[in-house]
């Protein structure tokens, strides 16, 4: 099992064994492109990944999960891990993320216009990630605040478990709009959805971090180093992230 | 040799009789014809596994047959040819199931009152109480069936069937688990009920005494086949075949052939050396018959007795003798015939020398007590 590889110090083997990476949900759309490039450039095996929310991954790592590398948009969770002595290095800021409005149909309004639209259309709903634990949810709340849309009337604001789900609500029409990370929608071709960037001044941008964990072995370090390269950043920029 | 009681094509609608005609090709195989008039109690008798319960269940509408025609109370209940099959509930049958089939979660009283139709709650309670009293169940009304003895359960089943004011009564061995004393009380209650009710009643039982005491007519069934139906007296005193005689529990059956017959008597030859004389008959000499000797026709005789115009005298030795209260049941090994003879003698007529196995004994057989069953007629 993956667990035993952590103790395996043999160089040759290390080249063969994949790194075990914990990825927060916000990396879901981005990761396949990164992994492809990594495998192609280094010839190393495709890393083993485990997706979950930052909260769950952190809990797992705190309780002995055999992850070697942790990527998350939630800086607080990384600090928590560092405090518990679970990290091997300082956290590293990979890139900054922005928010976009995903709007069902044409003529996406700006956030300030959204207020009046909501007055007109009582059943209009907007979905965001849960601000209690998702960083993009917090950013979305800030944006809504700044647009004077807080507090929204009851039932207008849907808090999904994570950003993916918020977007899904908009995709299948359960919500009319979603305030989601740009990475989710940048390369997303859905004719029904119109994407509009949110004014970057209206919220605090979300920084995606990387940290090496205690269990990290050679392949993980290799991967970690590669993720810090400009090539990796270029790919991330393709998804709407910007340099930190 | 089934009786032709097939319901006629055009039936008088005012005929409230129960007509049953059933055939089944697959197990349980059936070929049954029977009839029971309103007010009549028909005893359905046959060996274990002969299909008695199946017939009752079919009349109640609980079992399907390949071909069946059942009429009751002036209505057609089943006519497979016309795909006519009245629902169980609409047949209004009062039935005692062989295994009681009480409602396990209901009290004794509820078991009975649930079967009473179209009355107020108070009336039902009262009718149920009265039937439970008549079946000696007073005091146990609140018990669940699981807290009753076997005979008590059976009496609840009987009360439930009787209380329902049915259009036909189907009783499947309803007294088998009840003691003699209670049984007699139940016989009386059933007799009382009959006076007030003009419905057909079918009683399955293994007890010939019960048949004689309760039933008017009798239908014999064997391997799913009705053998004979007639009045109880008729069937018991003149069984149509050896098989029927055996079913009725007759033990003194002898294969014989008619050797001689004239206006005063008929002579039967048993196994070559012994001849019995019976009443005159129209049997041709040479006819093969089964002789049935009624136990009451047999009595003790002196060693010196000889055949006369009224009696045959046979000699033998006692094989065994069992005391049955104030009577003894004696099995005699006859000198001349290989089969033994069984009969009962009141105790006071018997000297102790008679009872010991092996002691010589002579018996009188009354001519009028000899019945010849024509073997060539029977199946």
């Amino acid at each position: 099992p993956a667990y035993s590889h952590a103790d395996d110090k043999s160089q040759d083997d290390a080249a063969q064994t994949p790194a075990v990476v914990a990825l927060a949900s916000s990396f879901r759309t981005l990761w396949p492109a990164l992994a492809d490039a990594y495998v192609k450039e280094t010839g190393n095996p495709n890393p083993l990944v485990s997706f979950a929310s930052s909260g769950l991954l952190t809990t797992q790592i705190l309780h002995g999960a055999p992850f070697e590398l942790y990527l998350s948009a939630d800086e607080a969770t990384i600090d928590r891990l560092a405090l518990a002595g679970k990290t091997k290095q300082e956290k590293y800021a990979l890139a900054k993320g922005t928010l976009s409005l995903a709007w069902r149909g044409a003529g996406a309004p700006s956030l300030s216009e959204l207020g009046t639209l909501m007055e007109e259309n009582k059943s209009l709903k907007i979905a965001i990630a849960n601000p209690r634990h998702a960083p993009y949810g917090i950013a979305a709340m800030q944006a809504l605040d700044n647009a004077g849309l807080h507090p929204l009337p009851n039932g207008k604001l849907l808090t999904a478990e994570n950003a993916s789900q918020a977007l899904q609500y908009a995709l299948n029409g359960a919500a009319d709009a979603a305030l989601v990370p740009t990475i989710l929608v940048q390369q997303f071709g859905d004719a029904n959805i119109m994407v509009l960037p949110i004014d970057e001044a209206s919220y605090q941008r979300v920084v995606h971090h990387l940290t090496l964990l205690q269990a990290a072995d050679k392949p993980a370090v290799t991967l970690s180093n590669w993720l810090k390269t400009p090539q990796a950043l270029t790919i991330m920029q393709g998804f709407g992230l910007t340099a930190p | 040799m089934s009786v032709n009681t097939h319901p006629p094509a055009e039936l008088d609608p005012s005929d409230k009789s129960l007509w049953v005609s059933l055939r089944n090709q697959s197990a349980p195989i059936l070929n049954v014809e029977m009839q029971c008039r309103p007010g009549e109690m028909l005893a359905l008798v046959g060996p274990s596994g002969s299909g008695k319960s199946t017939v009752l269940r079919t009349i109640a509408g609980l079992q399907k047959v390949d071909f069946g025609h059942i009429r009751c109370n002036g209505e057609t209940w089943l006519h497979t040819k016309h795909r006519n099959d009245v629902k169980v509930q609409q047949r209004h049958v009062g039935m005692v199931f062989q295994h009681y089939a009480l409602f396990p979660h209901k009290s004794v009283e509820e078991n009975v009152s649930l079967a009473i139709r179209g009355s107020t709650r108070a009336e039902k309670k009262q009718i149920a109480a009265s039937w439970l009293e008549r079946t000696n169940m007073t005091g146990l009304e609140k018990r669940k069936p699981g807290q009753l003895s076997g005979g008590q359960k059976q009496r609840v089943a009987l009360a439930r069937a009787l209380a329902s004011n049915p259009s036909v009564l189907l009783l499947d061995e309803p007294f088998s688990a009840v003691d003699q004393q209670t049984r007699r009380k139940l016989y009386r209650e059933l007799a009382k009920l009959r006076r007030g009710l003009d419905i057909p009643m079918v009683l399955v039982t293994h007890d010939v005494g019960e048949v004689q005491q309760l039933a008017d007519s009798m239908c014999l069934i064997h391997k799913g086949q009705t053998l004979q139906q007639g009045s109880v007296h008729e069937v018991i005193s003149a069984p149509e075949s050896k098989a029927i005689a055996k079913l009725l529990g007759h033990q003194n059956l002898f294969a014989a052939s008619v050797s001689n017959q004239d206006s005063t008597h008929t002579s039967y030859e048993l196994g070559g050396t012994e001849t019995l004389h019976g009443e005159p008959s129209d049997l041709a000499p040479g006819t093969r018959v089964t002789l049935l000797i009624a136990p009451s026709a047999i009595s003790l005789a002196d060693n010196s007795s000889h055949d006369n115009a009224e009696h045959n005298v046979l000699h033998g030795v006692v094989r065994d003798a069992v005391s049955m209260g104030d009577e003894w049941s004696i099995t005699v090994h006859l000198h001349t015939v290989t089969k033994s003879l069984r009969f009962r003698v009141p105790q006071h007529l018997l000297s102790s020398s008679h009872v010991a196995a092996g002691s010589p004994i002579s018996v009188n057989i009354r001519r009028s007590g000899i019945l010849a069953i024509n073997d060539t007629h029977s199946m």
């Binding site: 634990h133 999904a160 359960a174 | 089939a101 979660h105």
Partner: protein, 219 residues
Amino acid sequence: MSPFLVSFKLAIWTTIILLPIGMLLGRWLAFARFKGKAWVESLVLLPLVLPPTVIGYYLLLVFSPESFSGSLVAQWFGQPLVFTFPGLVVASVIVNLPFAVQPMQLAYSSLPLEVREAAWVSGLSSFETWWHIELPQIWQGILGSATLIFSHTLGEFGVVLLVGGNIEGSTRTVSIAIYDHVQAFDMQSAGWYSLALLVLSLAALLVVRINTHNKAGHA
């Protein structure tokens, strides 16, 4: 409305709606003999096989007011089903179907035929037979179904989260609330909520069970 109220309301509604459905289906599967029976029995179990969130996702597709099916449903219920309490109930009913059918089928199949026959002979109609004879004897099955449905609805989380949308006061159940606390590392709140949920549901289960035990009289 507190998440506890939402949860218990949801559990009670789901149980009430599912019991008759489970009874009918379970009775049919116990008594009927037909060719595709194994198929029906297996199909009934399928709501268990997919992960709740995935069922939730598909239900969302079906219920979404934008879809054809969803608009029909919305017309029928007078309102779209997503993000409303009635929607939660419908989703919960679908997910809990196996728990409604299985114990009922078991209970029905241990009912002896002869006792029902005696009821018919006694003139009891199908309905009366059901009411007087079957119902009191499948009590254990009903109780089993009800407690399984009730407990599972309280703990259910994936479907409810997706179809309900975690709206405070109308679709946020305790389960979701606890989950949110765990995600936000508010372990103390999560612990208290969990404890309260456990204690309350234990109390509810106990009340039901002790009452029915007394009623059934253990005879």
